[in-house]
């Protein structure tokens, strides 16, 4: 059993085999050589795992982000944040943080934010005298906020894997996302003061009002999504569908940027991207069923209780594990592989599964830009043409900012749970 459930998947994973194949191979080996039960359970679980209404939010939110990302939404958000932040020292850096945070409340796909906002902000920051490594590091690191601020695709997948409520996870993600944004902005201001760059310019009401008017439609999306969910108007899946309709109408009829062909094109790209994720979700469902049937999670939980592992020690170990995993594996695959194993232990040790979902998401968000292999590093390198050496140098200080935020989020559960209490009353 250990061979089929641990050794085989680990070896195949390290050899670079597709994640769905890693999971399916392990499952097939268990069914054929260990469990000796009807193979029909394989089909039943492949189908049953993605036969969930909540998972529809995955393609829907990706589609909304695709539509919004194809037009001038990023530029409009940049103009809006910049007009508001202009008097502050480091206003361009703060604009990058602010715009990415708002973009995250629309899209939830981190690489898209790095590419879209990076294209606008990197040349502007260089022109304003920001050092290359600082601008590159900021753009690469700040994109990770997008999977922490709701709507977040990894949180939907965690919700499905851990059987946890997505609205609760979203409510819990708001304050940690804003905390990280605030800490990044504070670091930008400190850095700009220290190096005497990025002097602010006087606030102009005319410019602010014009930018607000231009950005109003783009700013409407987060209000519809979050307002709809917490106002009790829609479920997260319905909010995602409404966001798609809103994004389609705004980009087609208000901004006049997308044609109907572009709208279908965005849907086609979304379908393929969603299939990439959902095939792993389906295979992970069977893997999870095999683990549960063989009582692996409960054995691990019993082991933890036997050695009197405290939540503090457990969370520290989890942070180290997830930071390492996040360097090599994308957040969705990591969540699908680890959640079935970790959540029973988390419950046994008395940690809130919503808080744990946020800890997992923040860890894996850091993995998105953690040297040497974080995917956003390569997105920035490819889209902005920044050399790796410059990127690595620039990322390190931001990595420390994130690690401090991670420690706060990990060891002060209320940073996450207060959002749930405020928005959902319990």
């Amino acid at each position: 059993m250990t061979l089929a459930l641990v050794v085989v998947p680990l070896v195949l994973l390290l050899l670079g085999f597709p994640i769905f194949l890693v999971l399916l191979t392990s499952v097939t080996a268990m069914l054929m050589f260990v469990m000796g039960i009807q193979p029909a359970v394989l089909h039943q679980n492949l189908f049953g795992t993605i036969n969930q209404f909540a998972l529809l939010a995955v393609p829907f939110f990706i589609y909304a982000g695709e539509l919004m990302g194809r037009g001038s939404v990023a530029q409009r958000l940049v103009d809006f944040v910049q007009s508001a932040a202009s008097p502050v020292r480091g206003s361009l850096g703060i604009t990058t943080v602010g715009t990415t945070t708002i973009f995250g409340a629309i899209s939830g796909v981190s690489a898209a934010a790095v590419a879209t906002i990076g294209k606008v902000m990197y040349p502007a920051m260089r022109k304003a005298g920001y050092p290359d490594h600082f601008a590159a590091g900021l753009i690469t690191a700040v994109g990770a906020i997008d999977i922490i601020i709701p709507p977040s695709i990894p949180m939907i997948v965690y919700g499905a894997a851990a059987e946890e409520s997505v609205p609760r996870l979203y409510a819990a993600g708001i304050i940690p996302g804003l905390l990280i944004a605030g800490m990044l902005a504070a670091y930008v201001i400190w850095y700009c003061r220290k190096h005497d760059i990025g002097r602010g310019s006087p606030f102009e009401w005319k410019r602010f009002l014009y930018a607000t008017q231009r950005g109003l439609w783009a700013l409407g999306a987060p209000f519809i999504i979050l307002g709809g969910i917490y106002g009790g108007v829609f479920s997260p899946t319905e909010a995602a569908a409404v966001a798609c309709i809103y994004a389609g109408l705004v980009t087609r009829f208000v901004f006049h940027e997308l044609t109907f062909k572009d709208i279908v094109e965005a849907a086609s790209a979304t379908a393929v991207f969603s299939a990439q994720i959902l095939i792993i979700v389906a295979c992970a469902g069977v893997f999870s069923w095999i683990l549960t049937s063989n009582q692996v999670p409960s054995m691990l939980a019993a082991w933890l209780q036997h050695y009197s592992v405290t939540p503090w020690m457990f969370l520290l170990a989890i942070n180290v594990l997830l930071l390492a995993v996040g360097c090599f594996l994308d957040p969705l695959s990591a969540i699908l592989l680890l959640t079935p194993l970790l959540v029973p232990m988390v419950k046994a040790i008395g940690i809130d599964t919503v808080h744990f979902g946020i800890v997992v998401t923040v860890n894996l968000a850091i993995g998105l830009f953690h040297p040497p292999f974080g995917i956003n590093i390569f997105v920035a390198q490819s889209v902005l043409g920044i050399p790796l050496k410059v990127l690595y140098r620039g990322i390190i200080p931001f990595l420390f900012v994130y690690l401090v935020a991670l420690a706060i989020i990990t060891y002060i559960p209320d940073v996450s749970l207060i959002g749930v209490k405020l928005l959902m009353g319990k």
């Binding site: 390290l14 194949l21 089909h43 393929v272 299939a275 095939i279 292999f373």
Partner: protein, 171 residues
């Protein structure tokens, strides 16, 4: 020739799946509007949406296989010497064909036939359940065809987008 024909078929499938996605977005939205404006929900709309998503997932997996876009942890494997990489590609193809073949022949084929014979239907929309379940069978069948084609040296490069371009660069 094979690349062109299969590439075109995959493109048609991709657009079809895109249109299906738009259809379920509209259906979902219609349901929300129906509930608040007309105080009436479309019965079975949720089932139709979820089953369409299942078709998108499994048929889309065929396109993903054809374009070699499956998510993988390749940060270590990219540093292997070329002969090892080539050998691993062959092992991967053989293993994938064996494992997906097992899922089709030993599980999905049997399950879909059984559910067809039973004539079971969904709870609300009364959709014959062999239709959504066939998505797994047909989707995995498409995946295995694409795996065989790729093993034979055919296949399309991934679509150009920042993330896949970055992944390519990483390799």
């Amino acid at each position: 020739m094979v690349n062109r024909v299969v590439g075109s078929l995959m493109r048609i499938l991709e657009v079809t799946l895109g249109v299906a996605l738009i259809a379920i977005v509209l259906l979902n939205f219609a349901n929300v509007v129906g509930r608040y404006v007309f105080n009436h929900s479309l019965l079975g709309a949720e089932e139709v949406q979820v089953y369409t998503m299942i078709w998108i997932a499994f048929l889309g997996a065929g396109i993903v296989t054809w374009r070699n876009m499956h998510l993988r942890m390749d940060a270590i494997a990219i540093n292997f010497p070329q002969p090892v990489k080539t050998a691993l590609r062959w092992i991967e193809a053989a293993l994938a064909i064996a494992v997906v073949g097992y899922a089709i022949t030993q599980s999905s084929w049997f399950y879909v036939n059984r559910i067809f014979a039973f004539g079971s239907k969904s709870d609300v929309a009364h959709i014959p359940m062999w239709i959504p379940h066939s998505a797994v069978l047909i989707g995995l069948g498409l995946v295995i065809i694409m795996l065989i084609l790729r093993a034979a040296g055919f296949g399309a490069p991934p679509i150009e987008d920042p993330e896949s371009a970055a992944l390519e660069q990483r390799q």
